[in-house]
Symmetry: C2
Subunit: 209 residues, 2 copies
């Protein structure tokens, strides 16, 4: 259990979006949402303090602007900031195990009726089907609107990631649903083996059965 200077990449995410264009903290949030929002989120509670820190480190520069609706502080990337960003992109990425609630429930699925599991996985499947549609639309939309931008290929590749993932998840869910059916069949067979062959007998069984 080492510490190893883990740190998260909030600062680098901000430097990244500022490499697209100069922005206020408010705009950074919107920009994050609509560009890297599929795999990265930042809240104001992170953005404003981080911008202050980056300013202190000389990685961004700030200029007050009153032109818009409200008084705003427009941040831009400095040369040092750009260098930091470029350096970070080349740095090995660490991946930590992300928690997965659906898998946690599935793992203990033996404790509940099989329909409960099926419903859970069904919802998961629908979610990823929706994602698939949404991402495909984004792909088309982005290509239409930013066809000339030299950075488009990189943006599309991140979208393709989501597509690949959701496709795999839909396929996996289908596999699980088949297994659920098999389990149900096995269960009712086991039930039949215990229960009397004549179905009429079941009706006459007492409640404790």
């Amino acid at each position: 259990m080492d510490k190893d200077e883990a740190r998260t990449s909030t600062a680098e995410a901000l430097l990244g979006v500022l490499s697209l264009r100069s922005m206020s903290g408010y705009q950074i949030r919107l920009q994050i949402e609509e560009s890297i929002g599929n795999f990265w989120r930042e809240s104001y509670g992170q953005i404003y303090p981080t911008l202050k820190r980056l300013l202190g480190e000389g990685l961004v520069r700030m200029e007050s602007a009153g032109g818009g609706r409200a008084e705003s502080k427009v941040y831009s990337l400095t040369e040092a900031g750009r260098e930091r960003l470029v350096e970070w992109i080349g740095t090995p990425s660490t991946r930590q195990v992300p928690r997965n609630e659906v898998l946690l429930k599935l793992f203990f699925g033996g404790l509940v009726a099989i329909e409960v599991v099926r419903e859970q996985i069904g919802a998961f499947r629908r979610l990823h089907e929706g994602e698939l549609r949404r991402l495909t639309e984004m792909e088309e939309d982005l290509t239409r609107r930013r066809g000339r931008d030299a950075r488009l290929p990189f943006w599309l590749m991140t979208l393709r990631y989501g597509v690949a993932e959701s496709r795999a998840m839909v396929a996996w869910a289908d596999e699980v649903l088949v297994t659920c059916e098999e389990l149900e069949r096995t269960r009712s067979e086991a039930e039949l083996a215990i229960a009397p062959v004549d179905p009429r007998c079941r009706v006459r069984m007492p409640k404790t059965c």
Copy 2:
């Protein structure tokens, strides 16, 4: 931006592993690692306080045991605990966007030399290739050792998730690597278009070129 009682499922994860067998806090950690460790982690800093809370809520029961190497507290699931667990399994799961550092770097990949991107994605590919091998081994091992357990299908399905995911990630990485090659080709063509047609001229160019 609503709160909506988000809560995480640390407590339920503990109830879940306690449904496998009664355990001490220490053993819970080991058990988590080797059963749901592919998609769920807990640290002692979470486990011990949560156990205390669950005990207070009557969801687990505790018995001191001195039989082992050291004095230990063995926790078991109560009926209420089991009910809570079962109820939770049927509850709709929420998914929040998990941060993805590799995608963040790829998104801003236009800022660096293409080899840097390729190295980053190459490492990602190797990681998932390794995962694929590891998970497949786990699958075989688990089937061999727990072939009779009625819960095995559920355990295998969570493993299949990882397999499906890593397979998709390897395929995606290959797709990205191909795109990188294309980008490189396009770049050198653009370079050629600017540079004189006769390659001998390049050698005679001054450094500033």
